[in-house]
Structure formats: structure tokens, C-alpha cells
């Protein structure tokens, strides 16, 4: 495993950084939030990102993708994470698209992936339920066999981009108790399916989410993904891949929050000197730097390991998620503290990082959850 960017990756990072500088200032978060934008991102920018080939990065070339890996996607997501860009990489590319890639038949892949990779169709994954926290196997939504297809009944929450997705991959249980690892299936539900009610949810990080009600939603046979009842391993893999993408985004966010704070320490003066000259702040800035560097190593290793099918990959994903969660919340907190009063104002942008840090921390399990998983995967 080489923990160094290739020349191509460097180039990709530069393109992404330039694009972000030109088109995607941090202020977009505020504009979209204050407009109470129903979909919460810019379809126009999304189209441009697709044209640049980013949306297709992890999909095979024969399906309209770029045939690259998570490592490349991570490079782009890190740059976008710097400005907390809300475009649906996580939901459509990694979660929805990932589920079709890993669980779908060739036909299903052919039907969906080229459209997803081109940014023309948007997918997402609806897995979380009230009280399920990060546990993927806690699924109370039921799927009853009906003819060749299924009938879904249940509730899903905080479905990322769930009001704008054209179709949702929904986890539902064909058998077993609510937290039985066996018995889970994946079902593609189209947005206009009768009985599907999607309601926009408003989160602290202002990312678009939806609460879904599935009231006897019918899923045709060709929209069942993989073998109903045996989906948990695939689901875990999909979420692991998405977690790597999320960690890259978090790395971008924590790096930017750190950079902005560092810049402030150099210009804000109190007692006749820049506040960055106080050792109490200096040392903490140095510690944040250490956290950022450790986070970067973990994210690079997790992406490379997933790309290479390394046997340690899952542990490295947990390593990255635990580290990035703690580091992002720490830096988000410190950023506000070191900005003083102005850091507490909504008018200043620095608070957006802490809000996103919390939401990202709580997505796919927080640091404690991933330390627990590390221990389990390590056999203790």
C-alpha cells in the first residue's frame, strides 16, 4: 500500500481545488440554507461535476464510469469537503449507486449505472430508522412477498437527498426479528411509487434529508436487488465504501476549519499581539495539526485498502471514521473557541464546520461505534 498520491491524483486534486475556488464558495451552504432550498444542492454544479467525470469515478468504464477507485473519489470529496459542498456524491454515487453495483444483476447495473455515473439519475440508500442509530441490521421495515415482487411497509429517517432522488434503495426485512442479521433485503423504490411519502427533514448541517413513509409500496421483481434476506454483508460493504468517502469529506472539512482558524490566530490581536503568540493557543494549534496529519494517513489507507481488497480494509475504515470523527469535532470546537465571540455568531462561517462535524460524526457510526467495531474485528 503506497500512501502517496499518484501524479494523476495530484492533477485531479488540483482540478477539483480550482473548480471549488471558482464555483463553490463556502457561502453556498448559507445561501441554500436561508433559501430553504427543497433539494439542498445545485443541480447545475452537479451537472458540471458529472461533465468533469467526477460523478462516474468509481464506476467501470463499460458502464459509463471512469473506472477509478475510492482513492480518486476521496481526492475529489476532500476538496468538496473543504467548502462543505452538499452535492450528492455520498447518496447517489456511493450509497445508491454502490448498492446497485454490489448487489445488482448485470441487467440492473446496465439499466441504472450509466445514468447515475452521468449524473442524470440520482439514487440514494434508505437504511436508517427511528432508533436504529448506526446499526445496519436494525431494520423494522417489512417486505412481504407478493406475486413476483414485494410490498414494503415501514418508516425511514434522515435519508440523504431522499426528496430529490429518482429512486431509493430501501432496506427491508423479509424475515426475522427487528435486529436479526439475517432476513434483510434491498429494494429499489422509484420516487413516484404509490404509497411512498417523502418529507424533507431539516438538520443542523442543513444537508437535505428525508423522512420516508412506505405505505404498502409495491416493488416489482426486476427492482429487487440481490437475494432478499441475505443483504447484510453487501449493505455493510456499501456503507464501508461510503464511509471512506465521508471520511475524505470530513478530512477536507477539518483541514479547512483548521486553516481558517490558523489564519485567524495570526491576524486577531489582543493585548497588543496576535493571539497566536499565546502558548495556550499555539500548542493547541500544533495538536490540531497532528490530528489532521493522522486523519489524512487513515483516510488514504482506508481508501487504498478498499480499492485493493486488502483483508484489513474494514478495520482501516473504522480507523479512519473514528479518527476523523474525533478530529473534526475537536477542530470544530476549537475553531469556535479560538474565534471568541465572533465564532458564536451565525454571520461568521466558522460555525458551519462544527455543525457538519457533528452530522458527519453521527453518520455511519461515531468514534465509539467504530472503536467497538475495531475491537470486534480484532477478535476481542
Amino acid at each position: 500500500m503506497q500512501l502517496v498520491r499518484t501524479e494523476d491524483q495530484e492533477l485531479l486534486a488540483k482540478t477539483a481545488a480550482d473548480f471549488v475556488a471558482e464555483h463553490s464558495p463556502l457561502s453556498r451552504v448559507r445561501t441554500l440554507r436561508d433559501a430553504r432550498d427543497p433539494i439542498g444542492y445545485s443541480p447545475d454544479l452537479w451537472r458540471q461535476m458529472a461533465e468533469l467525470g467526477w460523478v462516474g469515478i468509481p464506476f467501470p468504464e463499460e458502464l459509463g464510469g471512469a473506472g477509478m477507485g475510492l482513492s480518486e473519489l476521496a481526492v475529489v470529496m476532500e476538496e468538496l469537503g473543504r467548502v462543505l459542498a452538499p452535492e450528492p456524491f455520498l447518496s447517489s454515487v456511493l450509497l445508491g449507486g454502490g448498492a446497485v453495483m454490489l448487489a445488482g444483476t448485470d441487467e440492473q447495473k446496465k439499466a441504472w449505472i450509466p445514468e447515475v455515473a452521468g449524473g442524470r439519475t440520482q439514487l440514494t440508500l434508505a437504511w436508517q430508522e427511528p432508533g436504529s442509530r448506526h446499526h445496519l441490521q436494525r431494520v423494522a421495515t417489512r417486505a412481504e412477498k407478493e406475486g413476483g415482487g414485494y410490498r414494503l411497509v415501514g418508516e425511514k429517517i434522515q435519508v440523504l437527498d431522499g426528496t430529490s432522488a429518482d429512486a431509493l434503495v430501501v432496506t427491508a426485512r423479509v424475515s426475522g426479528a427487528d435486529d436479526d442479521p439475517a432476513g434483510i433485503g434491498l429494494f429499489l423504490v422509484r420516487r413516484d411509487a404509490p404509497g411512498l411519502v417523502a418529507e424533507r427533514q431539516w438538520r443542523v448541517d442543513s444537508r437535505a434529508c428525508a423522512r420516508l413513509e412506505l405505505r404498502d409500496v409495491r416493488v416489482a421483481e426486476e427492482d429487487v436487488l440481490g437475494e432478499p434476506g441475505a443483504a447484510l454483508p453487501v449493505l455493510e460493504e456499501v456503507v464501508d465504501r461510503a464511509t471512506v468517502g465521508l471520511c475524505a469529506e470530513m478530512l477536507g472539512g477539518l483541514s479547512e476549519a483548521f486553516d481558517r482558524t490558523l489564519a485567524y490566530l495570526k491576524v486577531r490581536e489582543q493585548f497588543g499581539v496576535p493571539i497566536g503568540s499565546f502558548q495556550a493557543l499555539k500548542h493547541r494549534a500544533a495538536r490540531m495539526f497532528v490530528e489532521r496529519e493522522l486523519s489524512r494517513s487513515a483516510v488514504m489507507a482506508a481508501a487504498a485498502a478498499m480499492d485493493q481488497g486488502n483483508p484489513e480494509a474494514r478495520k482501516l475504515v473504522s480507523l479512519a471514521k473514528a479518527r476523523c470523527s474525533d478530529a473534526f469535532v475537536l477542530i470544530g470546537n476549537e475553531a469556535i473557541q479560538m474565534h471568541g465571540g465572533i465564532g458564536m455568531t451565525d454571520e461568521h462561517d466558522i460555525g458551519f464546520f462544527l455543525k457538519r462535524a457533528r452530522a458527519a460524526e453521527m453518520t455511519f457510526g461515531d468514534a465509539a461505534a467504530h472503536r467497538d467495531r475495531w475491537a470486534r474485528l480484532s477478535g476481542y
Binding site: 418529507e199 427533514q201 448541517d205 497588543g272 495556550a280 471568541g340 458564536m344 453521527m362 465509539a368
Partner: protein
């Protein structure tokens, strides 16, 4: 006033308790019993207070203020009840027993009132204290400026004397509730030539004076409790100087001591909230989100953090109590207000973070649907708590004060 002098015409504590019980039974509006919320969730009073939708709160304030019980230890001649701390404690215990909310809160009672008692002229005390007691005037604090936060003494707002008045020009910032307040206590520079601490004067200013403009600023938690305050040639009578002209720094520091104990007290009782029943305790909250296994919280990591938080809160309460007991026993208080402010605010932040961890994804709500009222409040309280280690002097400044003044470490 010494305790003995104050207690001369007070009944002994048992008799007093009986009296208070009878009084509260008769006068406390039944609708408010059991209504004791967070220490800060109260009535701030002032000219802008809206009473229409809370007549009982108004009645409660009036009956308490009539006896001086909104400021129980203040002398009677200034509207207080002249109680000894021991009698005041009985009053609070009896209010707590009925779970009654404080009739009045605010910077008048906790900050400027005690400061005026110590430094105010007779005229200032007679004018301002009774109106604070009755909740007629709400106060705000004009200390911070854009370039003078931690380094408060570098403040630039100018006051130039013209006969019987000061003409005040400058800008204050982060003025909590500036838009709701009737009066402001503020620090101004009266002598730009002197060493920075020695050219500052402490003033009382009517917010209705011509030249005062207030702009609310939203916090990251979404509410708008603080403001920018612009002062453009505002005329303030010289008789509104507290302490000496150019001697305001001493007054300012004393008030900061009161402010820091107020903040510490607010967090000294379980993050500002006292549970009324099991479900309202932190453990009850955790049980709802995490469930139990064999009578223990199902998540051992969060259980450990919860126990740690409760134990930290308990030892903090004990330390607050130890200081109060020492004060009652006539021992002079040390510089521990800095310790309290530091520890109390960080404790509250840890508590809020713990609650977020316990609620997990349910703690991410900003507005409905899909989040309960309690969950939405949780998100915003957590965000608001980030300001606790900034307001009233940052944690870094508290640590500097402890290191220098308490520990005698060199600069």
C-alpha cells in the same frame, strides 16, 4: 451589613420556614408549581417584557417583589428583604420544594445590583435597586468591543466631559439582550493618556437616550440574544458614574466576579436543570435512547461517560457549597470564582456533548419533522453551550487568572 445586624428583626430559621410555607401556599400561583425549569428560563422583566400571555408570572413576580424576595439578601431600604444568607437559603429550599420558578432573573439581580450595593452612591442605590427588585428595568452589559474582548482594558469607547454630562461615542459588541434591555452598564475611556486600566470609567446609561442604536446578531444556535450597540454622542449625566471617574476598572472587575459566579451557579445544579422526576435525569434520558440490559444502560461506554459527568457535577456542587459554607462562617472568599466559571462551563459543555452522543442521529435536528421538541432543543442547547467558555471571559483567560493570581506564576 453583618449577619447579626441583618438578622436582628428576623425570626429564627424554623419560624421563618413556617412563615414562608404559609406565604407560598397562599400566594404562589398554583399554575407555577412544578414549573421550575432551567435556571435561565425565567422572567427577565423590564419595560419590554410581554405579560399578556403569562399573567401568573406577573402575579408571582409582584407578590415576591412586594416582600423583597426577588433579591432576598439586599437591604430593605433598597427594596430587598434584608435576609441573612441562611434565611435566604430557607426561602430557596421552600420554593424548590414546591418546584416554583424564580420570580425574576437577569443581569440587574446578578451583576449590576451587587455592584451598586458595593460601589454605588446612595442616590444610585435608591434609584436603581428597587426598580431591579420589582422587575421594572432590565439591564444589559456593555463591556466588549470589536477590538477589546479578552483584552477588555484596551476598550476605546470614548466619553468626553461637557459640564454635567459625558458625551459617549463608540461601539459595543456581543451585548446580550441589548435589544430587550432598558439600561446598560458600560465601560468607557475617559482618560486616553493614562495607563489603559487607569483611564476607564463605569457608567449607567438609559438605552432610550438619543444616539443609542442596537442591532441584534444571531447565534449559531439560531436565536438572537446578543447585539451590536452603537453609541453616537450619547449624553450620560456625570451622576451616573459608578465609583470614581477613571477608577472604573476596579468596579468592572468586581462585577466580573459577580458575573462569573452567576454563570457558575447556573451550571452548578446539573447543567442548569434540576430533574423533577426520574425520566428527566440524565440516566432517564439515556435509558430512553440506549435501553437497558440486566438493569444497566446497554451501552457501557456511554454509561461510563454518564457516570463521569454526574460525578463531576456532584463534586462541583460540593465545591460550590464549600465556598458558600465558608462565606457563611465568615471566611473571606478567595479567587475561586475563576475556578467555578472555568469548571462549570466546561462541565456543561461535556454534558451537552454527552447528551448528543446519547441521542445519536436524533441529535441532528434543526426543525421538524422527524425530531421531537426535546431533540430539537438538545441540538440548540448543545450549540449554545459552545459560548459558555467564551462569555464572561474565556476559559483561557480564567486559566491565566488562576495561574497568575492564585498560583503566583510569573507572567
Amino acid at each position: 451589613m453583618s449577619e447579626a445586624a441583618a438578622s436582628r428583626d428576623l425570626p429564627d430559621l424554623d419560624t421563618f420556614r413556617e412563615e414562608i410555607r404559609r406565604f407560598l401556599e397562599a400566594e404562589a400561583p398554583p399554575s407555577l408549581r412544578g414549573a421550575r425549569g432551567g435556571e435561565l428560563d425565567g422572567i427577565w422583566g423590564g419595560r419590554k417584557e410581554r405579560w399578556d400571555d403569562k399573567p401568573d408570572r406577573k402575579r408571582w413576580l409582584d407578590v415576591m417583589a412586594a416582600r423583597g424576595y426577588t433579591a432576598p439578601t439586599w437591604p430593605r431600604e433598597y427594596g430587598g428583604a434584608g435576609l441573612t444568607p441562611a434565611h435566604a437559603k430557607v426561602l430557596h429550599q421552600e420554593m424548590r420544594r414546591l418546584e416554583l420558578p424564580p420570580p425574576l432573573i437577569g443581569f440587574g439581580l446578578t451583576m449590576i445590583g451587587p455592584t451598586l450595593l458595593q460601589f454605588g452612591t446612595e442616590e444610585q442605590k435608591r434609584k436603581h435597586l428597587p426598580r431591579i427588585v420589582r422587575g421594572e428595568i432590565r439591564w444589559c452589559q456593555g463591556y466588549s468591543e470589536p477590538d477589546a474582548g479578552s483584552d477588555l482594558a484596551s476598550l476605546k469607547t470614548r466619553a468626553v466631559r461637557e459640564g454635567d454630562h459625558f458625551i459617549v461615542t463608540g461601539q459595543k459588541v456581543w451585548t446580550s439582550y441589548g435589544d430587550q434591555a432598558d439600561w446598560m452598564f458600560l465601560l468607557v475611556r475617559t482618560n486616553p493618556e493614562a495607563k489603559k486600566q487607569e483611564g476607564i470609567t463605569f457608567l449607567l446609561m438609559d438605552m432610550d437616550s438619543p444616539g443609542v442604536a442596537v442591532r441584534p446578531i444571531k447565534l449559531i444556535s439560531g436565536s438572537s440574544p446578543f447585539c451590536e450597540t452603537y453609541l453616537d454622542r450619547v449624553r450620560v449625566p456625570v451622576s451616573n458614574v459608578v465609583g470614581r471617574i477613571d477608577g472604573g476598572w476596579t468596579v468592572a472587575k468586581a462585577l466580573l466576579g459577580h458575573e462569573r459566579s452567576m454563570i457558575a451557579d447556573a451550571f452548578g445544579t446539573g447543567g442548569g436543570r434540576r430533574a423533577r422526576n426520574e425520566a428527566e435525569t440524565l440516566a432517564g434520558f439515556a435509558r430512553r435512547y440506549l435501553g437497558e440490559r440486566e438493569g444497566r444502560l446497554a451501552d457501557p461506554v456511554l454509561r461510563d461517560r454518564l457516570a463521569q459527568n454526574e460525578m463531576d457535577a456532584r463534586v462541583f456542587e460540593l465545591t460550590l457549597q464549600r465556598t458558600r459554607d465558608a462565606a457563611r462562617a465568615g471566611q473571606a472568599p478567595g479567587p475561586e470564582a475563576s475556578l467555578f466559571k472555568l469548571y462549570g462551563t466546561e462541565l456543561n459543555q461535556r454534558r451537552q456533548e454527552l447528551m448528543v452522543s446519547i441521542a445519536g442521529p436524533a441529535a441532528l435536528g434543526w426543525e421538524g419533522p422527524g425530531f421531537s421538541e426535546e431533540e430539537l432543543a438538545l441540538t440548540r442547547n448543545w450549540l449554545r453551550s459552545r459560548g459558555n467558555t467564551i462569555e464572561g471571559g474565556t476559559s483561557e483567560i480564567q486559566l491565566n487568572i488562576i495561574a497568575k493570581r492564585v498560583l503566583g506564576l510569573p507572567d
